[in-house]
């Protein structure tokens, strides 16, 4: 195993038959039921774990207008955060792929830089948020987008580069024996090899972008985003509203994850995705 620690994939393929889905659905229903009953039965104080029904209620109440502490509705806050997350995701993924392609073209440069990328990925990148706030202005969306870009960039770069570079030597030899140019080798061998790696990193980057956006929001900035909605409601003990915002964030993350998985299906209908390492 290489020292790549950038992405750990679930090896999760979306099941096709109901029989395969059934256990998960059952488990989910059981968990929800336990949650609802447990809170009632043990009288767990509302702030630890509001009943799912309370959260559902808060979600509905706050969707278009805010009943809670913040002035923004969940829909609006959700939208604002989603825009930041998605724009950061797109830029981060593009940069990651672009630099990976460059690294495969200029292999020696790529190989010297990769350890730095691995190291950078090991640092808590979200800690850069206040610095970006200072650079780009605390009220601008750019400072949070920059955090998302950097967080997403590294796993995408490292996995894609790995897919581009770690090709069977025998395949390259075959292409060379045909007198193929570097560009040809890239198109015919490296890129197809890299696609599963790239898609694995995409699966990871999608929900990560939402989380990075929300965490960046913790470091200050405009209040009409999901992060501040969560913290403000929590600090005023409006926990159901806080959880409702978290549900919105999770749904967005899930939707992006589903998009990434769907993209995989379209791009590689014939194969199961590869586990990144």
């Amino acid at each position: 195993m290489t020292a790549d620690t950038t992405s750990v994939a679930a090896g999760y393929t979306v099941p096709r038959r109901f029989g395969a889905v059934a256990p998960a659905v059952i488990a989910g229903v059981v968990l929800l039921a336990l949650w609802e009953l447990g809170v009632r039965a043990f009288g767990i104080r509302e702030f630890v774990l509001p009943r799912p029904s309370s959260i559902g209620q808060a979600l509905v109440d706050n969707w278009s207008t805010s009943e809670g502490v913040s002035t923004v509705s969940l829909r609006q806050a959700g939208w604002n955060t989603t825009v930041i997350a998605v724009s950061g995701l797109v830029v981060g993924v593009s940069l990651g792929v672009a630099l990976a392609l460059l690294a495969s073209r200029y292999v020696r440069v790529g190989r010297t830089l990769t350890p730095f990328a691995v190291a950078a990925n090991a640092t808590p990148i979200v800690a850069l948020a206040p610095i970006f706030n200072a650079w780009f202005g605390i009220t601008s969306a750019l400072s949070n987008q920059a955090v998302v870009v950097v967080v997403v960039f590294f796993p995408v770069f490292l996995n894609t580069a790995r897919g581009l570079l770690e090709v069977e030597p025998s395949q390259i030899e075959l292409m060379r024996s045909y007198g193929a140019s570097d560009l040809s080798v890239l198109r015919q061998v490296r890129i197809p090899n890299a696609i599963p790696f790239f898609l694995t990193s995409l699966r990871l980057a999608a929900p990560l972008s939402v989380i990075a956006a929300i965490v960046a929001e913790y470091f200050g900035g405009p209040q009409d985003r999901l992060g501040p909605v969560i913290t403000q409601n929590a600090s005023f003990a409006r926990y159901a509203e806080a959880w409702a915002a978290i549900v919105v964030a999770s749904v967005v993350g899930l939707a992006l994850f589903a998009l990434a998985v769907g993209f995989e299906r379209v791009a590689m209908p014939w194969r199961r995705p590869v586990d990144g390492q």
Partner: protein
């Protein structure tokens, strides 16, 4: 043996090369930083919109100012230098991260073993485990901490739980893959010895899972630091790096270089933990060449 001595020699040479490469990279980065400031300073007045980041001393302190802040006193009149104060904060965060890592690893491995034992539970739990990572539990940090305060668990444990939430996922996923990895013949071998499920787990599956677990540990280690820092910030806990970063961000105008120093400290903490995980891997897997 000669081979081993030569091996040690090349390893030492590689360490020196790495150190030189890092030093070169830092030097290059510092030069680029200062060049940007100088060049940007000349065109700033007329074309300030062109530059993504303003090159003035408040937004971008000089490299030597940032470096110097490490040895300046933490506050005016304090006898403690910033570096020491950051070190203490890093230690505080490290404890939370370490505890979180431990809890996350135990939970993750436990889940992996459970899912190994029952394929029904495997199919039932995998989607929920995946979904768990889209829920920004980090966002719940204030709630977790408040809850922690009503029980005997302190703030440290609460933040550790947040770190554990990020940690358990890679360990569970990779652990399960590793536990399932032995070839059918290896499993037949154990059956031929009439070895039961638990003996097979300890003698075969767990050792075979290590090449899968170590990359997960490396990732989990860095995630635990992230979880600890963000947990501290959103829960408002004092004593750790998260709080320090937040404080210096708030007092940015009076000392921008301090924020940079704190962020660098956080980065170094992440690297430290990552390095430890790499060392642990090297130590444990010493001598056994692993086939990828």
């Amino acid at each position: 043996m000669v081979a081993a001595a030569q091996g040690r020699e090349t390893a030492a040479r590689r360490r020196v090369q790495t150190a030189l490469a890092v030093a070169a990279a830092l030097a290059l980065f510092s030069v680029l930083w200062e060049v940007y400031k100088v060049v940007g300073g000349t065109i700033d007045d007329r074309w300030s919109d062109v530059l993504p980041v303003r090159p003035d001393d408040l937004t971008m302190p000089h490299v030597w100012e940032i470096a110097g802040s490490f040895i300046d006193p933490v506050q005016r009149g304090s006898s403690e230098i910033l570096a020491v104060s950051l070190l203490k904060a890093a230690g505080f965060t490290l404890i939370e991260a370490g505890l979180g890592f431990l809890i996350g690893t135990i939970v993750g491995l436990g889940l992996a073993v459970v899912m190994l034992r029952s394929s029904w539970l495997d199919r039932a739990l995998v989607p929920w485990i995946n979904i768990s990572q889209t829920v920004p539990l980090i966002a719940l940090a204030p709630i977790v901490v408040t809850w922690g305060r009503t029980t005997f668990l302190g703030d440290t444990v609460s933040v550790a739980l947040i770190a554990a939430y990020l940690t358990f996922f890679p360990v569970a996923v990779n652990g399960l893959a590793g536990l399932k990895s032995p070839a059918p013949e290896a499993l037949e071998l154990m059956r031929s010895y009439a070895a039961g499920w638990s003996k097979t787990l300890f003698a075969l599956r767990l050792p075979a899972a290590r090449p899968y677990l170590f990359p997960a540990f490396k990732l989990a280690a860095t995630l635990s630091v992230v979880g600890a820092i963000v947990g501290e910030i959103s829960a408002g806990i004092r004593g750790g790096l998260g709080r320090v970063i937040l404080d210096y961000a708030g007092r940015y105008t009076t000392g921008p270089e301090k924020l940079y120093a704190a962020v660098i400290a956080a980065a170094l903490l992440g690297l430290f933990v990552f390095g430890m995980a790499n060392l642990a891997e090297a130590r444990v897997l010493r001598g056994e060449k692993q086939e990828s």
